[in-house]
């Protein structure tokens, strides 16, 4: 398949590789103090992270060379297995901070919600490519899709993992919307989420507090939740970075002011160490993924590839932008990692696989002859700057 390699979208690959390399640097800086304290080695956590990235690269390489069309017959079965895994997690999974989200298989902890997300994505792409004409019909077209989405989202939410559940729901709705569902149906589905949201808010006090404090009710004095503290410290981190940042490895916030700075709040460390320049570059990298991903979708050889490309691109970009908005205080605090950047275990491997599939799709498009023109796109100007920083 040597000839196909020439066809993959090198820009997307390059951007993802930059994110991976950058993440090792930032995770190391963000986790060293914590790791020193808990693991007696400042590189303890980043080593784990690098292992995951290397595994991700292997998986990505595999996916690039695997014709995406061969997933078609598998999607339904994989989705069903992943739903079973979600059940199993509910029963067997370990509790992490009050939520059963992890399943340990042979000492390797899996996040079934992550598997389910991608399985759902693949299956939705398959269904949309097959039954697109019927989608306008509520009973035969829309409902079956919504049943899959609803099942996965429900199971993830009862883990309880409200944030991942709603992210999966949003992804599903994006695909269904792009796939041609009636606007009316989409609206009804979104409206159906409102009571679920209310039930969720009331069911756990910490959520209520977070949301209330986000909306502006309850001052700092009354709602002194960890979430708020984290958020404030995150924003202080951004602000402290200013335009140019405090410099590589110079973050002060990571020294335990900002709990789990290597995880969901890693963007704040980026902002502190590399300043506005660094954060805008990171935003630009994800923007590039968005634009390239949609371009790949546009030129995908078939509908399955098209919807798959849209789904994969949306996942990565949605997580990235949601993470940025949360750390910047523009969205209620939820645990959403920044793809490829946050320290987050197996998520990196799944994301790498997804990008690999996206690149495989790109290799089967007619993009190749036009590639030179893309390089001149204005958005890509950011890349040389990236090279300077790292």
């Amino acid at each position: 398949m040597a000839s196909e390699k020439n066809h993959i979208d090198r820009i997307t690959l390059f951007v993802v590789l930059i994110l991976m390399v950058a993440s090792t640097v930032v995770v190391y800086s963000a986790s060293s103090t914590w790791a020193m304290q808990k693991m007696q080695s400042s590189s303890g956590l980043v080593n784990k992270h690098i292992t995951k990235i290397l595994a991700g690269l292997v998986v990505m390489f595999f996916a690039i060379n695997m014709d995406y069309k061969r997933y078609k017959p598998l999607t339904k079965w994989v989705l069903m297995v992943s739903i079973l895994l979600l059940f199993a997690t509910r029963v067997l999974g370990g509790e992490v901070k009050g939520a059963a989200r992890w399943l340990s298989v042979g000492g390797f902890s899996l996040q079934p919600s992550e598997i389910a997300k991608f399985a759902l994505l693949f299956h939705l792409a398959y269904l949309l490519s097959n039954k697109r004409e019927k989608l306008a019909d509520f009973k035969t077209g829309f409902m079956p899709l919504m049943i899959w989405i609803g099942l996965v989202v429900l199971l993830v939410m009862v883990q309880p993992n409200f944030s991942t559940g709603s992210m999966i729901f949003a992804l599903g709705m994006i695909l269904v919307f792009v796939g041609g569902a009636r606007i009316k149906h989409v609206m009804i589905s979104l409206a159906g989420l409102v009571p679920a949201l209310l039930v969720y808010m009331v069911s756990a006090p910490y959520r209520m507090k977070r949301i209330l404090s986000y909306v502006g009710f309850g001052s700092d004095e009354t709602v002194t939740s960890t979430a708020n503290y984290q958020l404030l410290q995150g924003i202080i981190g951004f602000g402290n970075g200013g335009i140019f940042g405090v410099g590589m490895g110079q973050s002060k916030q990571r020294d335990l002011f900002l709990p789990e700075s290597y995880g969901d709040f890693i963007f704040s460390i980026v902002g502190e160490e590399y300043g506005l320049i660094g954060t805008i570059i990171f935003i630009g990298l994800f923007l590039t993924i968005l634009l390239r991903g949609l371009k790949i979708a546009k030129y995908a050889p078939d509908d399955f590839g098209k919807y798959l490309a849209i789904g994969i691109t949306s996942t990565i970009v949605l997580y990235a932008i949601a993470n940025a908005l949360v750390t910047l205080g523009l969205m209620p605090t939820t645990g959403v990692p920044m793809p490829f950047v946050s320290y987050g275990g197996t998520a990196i491997i799944f994301s790498s696989f997804a990008v690999g599939v996206l690149l495989n799709i790109s290799s089967q498009t007619d993009l190749h002859p036009r590639e030179r023109q893309f390089i001149e796109q204005p958005t890509l100007k950011v890349e040389p700057a990236v090279g300077k920083i790292y």
Partner: protein, 727 residues
Amino acid sequence: MRNPFRKKEETVKETPQQKDYKYRLLIVKFCFLFAFFAASARLVQIQLFESGKYQSIAKGQYEARVPLVAARGNIYDRNGNVLVANSEFVSFAADPKIAGDDAKLIAKEFSAVTGKPEKEYTSKLQSAKRFVWMERHLRPDAAELIPLKKMGGVVKMNEAMRLYHYDEIAGQVIGATNIENVGVSGIEQQFNDVLRGRDGYVIMQKDGMGRKRPSVDYPREEAVNGHSIQLTIDLQYQSIADEELKKGIARTQADAGLVVMIRPQTGEILAMSNYPQVNLNRVQNADALKNRIVSDMYEPGSVFKIVTASAALENEVVTLDKKIYAENGKYTIEYPGKKFRLINDAHPLRDVTFLESMAFSSNIVMAKVSDLIGQEKLYKKARDFGFGMATGIELPAEINGQLKKTSEWSLASLNSIAYGYEVGVTPLQIVSAYSAIANDGMLMKPYIVQRENDENGQEIYTGQPQMIRRVIPKHVNEQVKQMLEAVVEFGTGVSVKTPGVRIAGKTGTSRKHVNGKYEEGSYNASFIGFFPVEKPEIVILVMIEKPKAGGYYGATASAPIFKAIADRIINNNGLLAKTMIAEQSVQNVDQQKDATVSIPDVANNGIDNAIALLNRSGLAAKVIGAGEEVVRQYPPAGTKVERGSLVQLMMNETALNIAAGSLQVPDVRGMSVRRAVNKLAAEQYGVTIVGSGIVANQFPNPGTSMKQGAKVTIICEPKAVVTAQLY
């Protein structure tokens, strides 16, 4: 963000479905682009426009300006004994906003160490402030017990606190510091600026755990330690003064009292003692910090007669042997306008010489003589002696006293002032005036600071004797000295007469002003004297306020204290003792030859007398038990022992108790209350508990013999906590 290929696409014919898809994808794309735009805008807001604000918040979080506290200068006595030094204590402060979450746990831990109720700490942690003191000045060992690691938002800091080595010795002179280590009285206040030094600071970086590390790039200013002050106070004399005053107060059941010692040739203050005493390490009563020797005035009474005598002799209106009729103790003066004034003498006299009138303290004679002197001359003499003006000693809150100008005098003022009424003087002014007489009529400025050394030990100030003025010509001064010696030889002060040492002095008794009126039965009893008369080395003033037992006269209340102090000084090794012993040795050649002495029989003597007898033979006394009278001594009388040996004196009350089958009180100090009670109960003593925690003191003292069933009072303090000072 326009798609460059869009135009080319449009050339291709599209189905409606494809068109719909394209628009939908475009909507999704724009939603994403909007989110990207929102995030970027927010980043620009935070990182560009508001970055200054967050940087300062961050700086506050990362950097701490840690003061480098300058060590407060020590205070020494004239011989270099450390009176005041510093010790390290540990204080805890908290940020309630952070620590408030664990308030209960934190309060519990503090309470366990200090013994204070948890509520006290929880209420502190509920404060809206960002900084509260949890506990200040814990001893380092106690501070170790507080598990700081478990407490978010609590910080520990070392604070230096004054350590007064001798508790209440010279308390009012040294003065106290408040909890901020600022001097609030005495030398601590007067020299606060030089003692405290200059604090430096260092900027530290701290992390989320509150750990600090110094940063080399940040500014740093080293602390400059305070200067040390060496006083003219002699710790030995001061201790004698404090002890004897305390004893004297107990004997006379007086309200208060004071003792001042000064070296007449130089004006150096050797001791200043105020009663009630104040323990500087544990100031209970801020009023007791007042040094009444410089801050209070009183009507001196007869001790003021030296002014009248000096003026009379200098102006040659009388001579020492001039006979004057003393009216047999009652003298009514008629002033113009049919106003009368009755003057009484405590010792009714008829025809006396001027010298005898001083010896027996005749107010009548002084009043008569004052008429011969006249207002201006008497006023001028009082002024010359330094009355009505602060001496300028290096102590805070010194007052001028009150000496009215002659224009403000009433008809009776001249006669009243002649024997020490209608003037307000400070005890220091009186001492200063007498030291002028002891110093051949030359008034010296009293001073108390011998030396000030800077932080490197370099001497930057030395106290020098300062002559103020000649108050009286030398030959007149000799006559005044003669009069004062007569007081001790055969007059009112005869009780202080000491074989081998010529002492001059004067008694004084004045009625005490209470709320502007003379209070019935309320007197100030003073005795002031100096010795040896031929070359005075020391002037001592003893003043007792409102004595209630054993007579209110200066002769009965204050003279015995003077005597006790003088005896101890004469027999001690201080600066005076050398001359004394040299003179004594001439008198007792045989005793000086061999080092052994024969113990005198002191049984059935009063305690003071017994000690004096032993001291005179060059022996020290150890008093065992309570009581006023010595019933037994060991070794027995007549035993030959080495000079300086200890003779044990068994007191009368002890002996009674032993006869009644009493035991010695065990030492329970340092024990917990429970152990102490058990131990005392085992010995069949009752217990009165004051306070809680650990036994700090007990009364009676350990080893005291006491009947079984009697009560022992134990004074307890919270475990390992230094009681905070009042301020």
